[in-house]
């Protein structure tokens, strides 16, 4: 598949936004039980605002993927069958709940009403998790894109979002000088990054062992081991040759894979650990930036690696 930058930014930005909120809400819950240090409402409000900006940017980015963005409102219609439609509904719901959550903490309403705030947070968290499910299922439900058609796709979208979000939470906590929270978020970010690495590596191993179900034999229905395409029927390009081929070399694909394997996992983990250990607030911020770049590479690779069966019909120009 040809990676579309609108979708790369959409999925990485909203993933980080959801992850950031889930990290904040976990800390708030922990503080209420007494397991984690207190979460100042101002910090939660700032965090919610940052998460809102990220998801908003993701939403804006998604419009660049549409041929007819002015009709985007129509895409909420088929939520019964389409995961894309479900995502289109859940994303604004999550943003609205997130805005309420942020406002509740910014206005001081949360201090007066702790239980309704927690309920609001729980609803927002449920929406954040539902959004991960919708985003992942958009890809995982396409059964003949075998690289994507796996529960690992949903797990990875969730874990990678949680990793980048909690790294961002660590960076925010470090910047606003809450050392106890920094350590809590840092530990969470390390855990999420490690889990994301395990499952992303698992999906890489799985995809390396895939055997395409469709072959040229089933594509044209001729039972012969040797079939070659002589002509695809036209000399110029077409939508089919542009949308489904990344047109890059295998070597580039391999280097992008190593770039994201290094940038998204060990490098931010190392920076996070040193940042928290030595109390350097700049390091978690750098960790987030590098991890985000790594996740962009990861998403690019996710698309480029997917081999669409329609490509069987477009192997030779003439």
């Amino acid at each position: 598949m040809q990676p579309a930058f609108s979708v790369l930014f959409l999925t990485t930005l909203i993933g980080a936004g959801q992850g950031l909120f889930l990290a904040l809400f976990t800390a708030e819950l922990g503080a209420d039980i007494g397991w984690t240090p207190a979460t100042p409402p101002a910090f939660l409000a700032i965090g919610a605002a940052v998460a809102l900006v990220l998801t908003g940017l993701g939403l804006v980015s998604s419009f660049f993927h549409l041929g007819r963005p002015e009709r985007a409102w129509r895409s909420a219609a088929r939520w019964r069958t389409s995961w894309l439609s479900r995502e289109v509904i859940v994303l604004p719901m999550f943003m609205a709940a997130l805005a309420c959550y942020g406002l509740a903490h910014a206005s001081g309403w949360s201090a007066a009403h702790p239980v309704p705030t927690l309920v609001l947070g729980a609803i927002t968290a449920a929406l954040a998790l539902a959004l991960y499910l919708c985003t992942g299922m958009i890809y995982a439900c396409l059964k003949f894109l075998q690289e994507w058609a796996s529960p690992l796709t949903v797990i990875n979208y969730t874990l990678l979002g949680l990793a980048s979000g909690s790294t961002l939470a660590t960076a925010l906590a470090a910047q606003t000088a809450a050392p106890a929270l920094t350590a809590f978020f840092g530990a969470g970010a390390l855990l999420a990054t490690a889990a994301a690495f395990v499952f992303r590596a698992a999906s890489l191993v799985r995809n390396a062992r895939l055997r395409p179900k469709s072959t040229l034999q089933t594509a044209i229905g001729v039972r012969h081991p040797r079939i070659v395409q002589i002509s695809q029927g036209f000399m110029g390009g077409s939508f089919n040759t542009r949308e489904f081929f990344h047109g890059r070399s295998r070597a580039l694909l391999r280097s992008v894979k190593w770039v994201f394997l290094i940038l998204a996992f060990p490098v931010p983990a190392l920076l996070l650990a040193t940042g928290v250990w030595l109390d350097r607030p700049a390091l978690p911020a750098l960790a987030f930036v590098l991890q985000y770049v790594g996740l962009l590479a990861e998403r690019w690779f996710f698309f480029a690696q997917a081999n669409h069966p329609q490509n069987l019909y477009y192997q030779a120009v003439a």
Binding site: R78, F144, G221
Partner: protein, 243 residues
């Protein structure tokens, strides 16, 4: 229930692209149009087509077969492109099974094209919506046309009658009989899409000749064994004598 479809006979398709050009002509001027082209006379032309004819070589020289393979929307009975559409622009008509795109509802998100394993949906770069074969829905029901012309443009254009059109759910239709009696098959059956369009395979015409059929033999079964058998080289009086 009706399921209109094409049956394409690969045995007689000569790869002339008449179906491609007639499809483009009819649909670019009809309800589905325009099917815009970009840079049509430039170095890198590209455009929207509903139908493509591709060519494959099967086997190894000198035992090769050239297979011309017309490819358009297969109007699947379980179309994977329809449920994924977020707007409902992509739909399958219950009355005749044609899979269509409502160009006024399509947002051009391309998700349906990702969900089609056959690669038969193409986005129109100018109108910025997804387009695909309509089975000439604006033509096959047009009562102002003579009944014989109420067929898709590609079917009418095919010089070798390689394209048959009809209801594949009616067991007595021309297309159902062709599928049944001439080994019609569906593409990529592994995905369970149940394409309505079928393809008829290449057939090689062979005659089985046994060695004794090559030598002239009067009365080969020797029914009248008592009669003397003439030498092989003797002139025979075919149809006159009865040895």
């Amino acid at each position: 229930m009706t399921q209109l479809a094409l049956v394409i006979d690969l045995n007689v398709c000569v790869g002339c692209h008449a179906c491609v050009t007639s499809c483009k002509q009819w649909n670019t001027s009809g309800a589905a149009g325009p099917m815009s082209d970009r840079n049509p006379y430039g170095a890198d032309p590209t455009g929207t087509f509903f139908n493509r004819v591709q060519t494959f070589e099967v086997g190894e020289y000198p035992n090769t077969q050239t297979v011309h393979f017309p490819k358009s929307c297969l109007h699947c009975e379980e179309p994977p492109c329809v449920p994924v559409c977020p707007t409902g622009a992509s739909y399958k008509r219950p009355e005749d099974g044609i899979v269509l795109v409502d160009y006024d509802k399509c947002i051009g998100c391309k998700y349906c094209s990702w969900a089609c394993p056959y690669g038969v949906r193409e986005i129109d770069e100018q109108q910025r919506v997804m387009k695909k074969c309509t089975l000439c829905v604006d033509r096959i029901y047009d009562a102002s046309l003579p009944a014989a012309e109420r067929k898709p443009a590609c079917v009418l254009a095919c010089p070798t009658s390689a394209r048959l059109f009809g209801d594949v759910h009616d067991p007595d239709s021309e297309v159902s009989q062709a599928i049944r009696e001439r080994a019609g098959y569906a593409l990529m059956p592994e995905w369970g899409t149940q394409p309505a369009n079928h393809y008829l395979p290449r057939r090689r015409t062979t005659i089985a000749i046994r060695p004794e059929e090559l030598a002239r033999a009067d009365n080969p079964l020797k029914v009248d064994g008592k009669l003397p058998k003439p030498p092989l080289r003797d002139p025979a009086l075919d149809d006159v004598t009865s040895w």
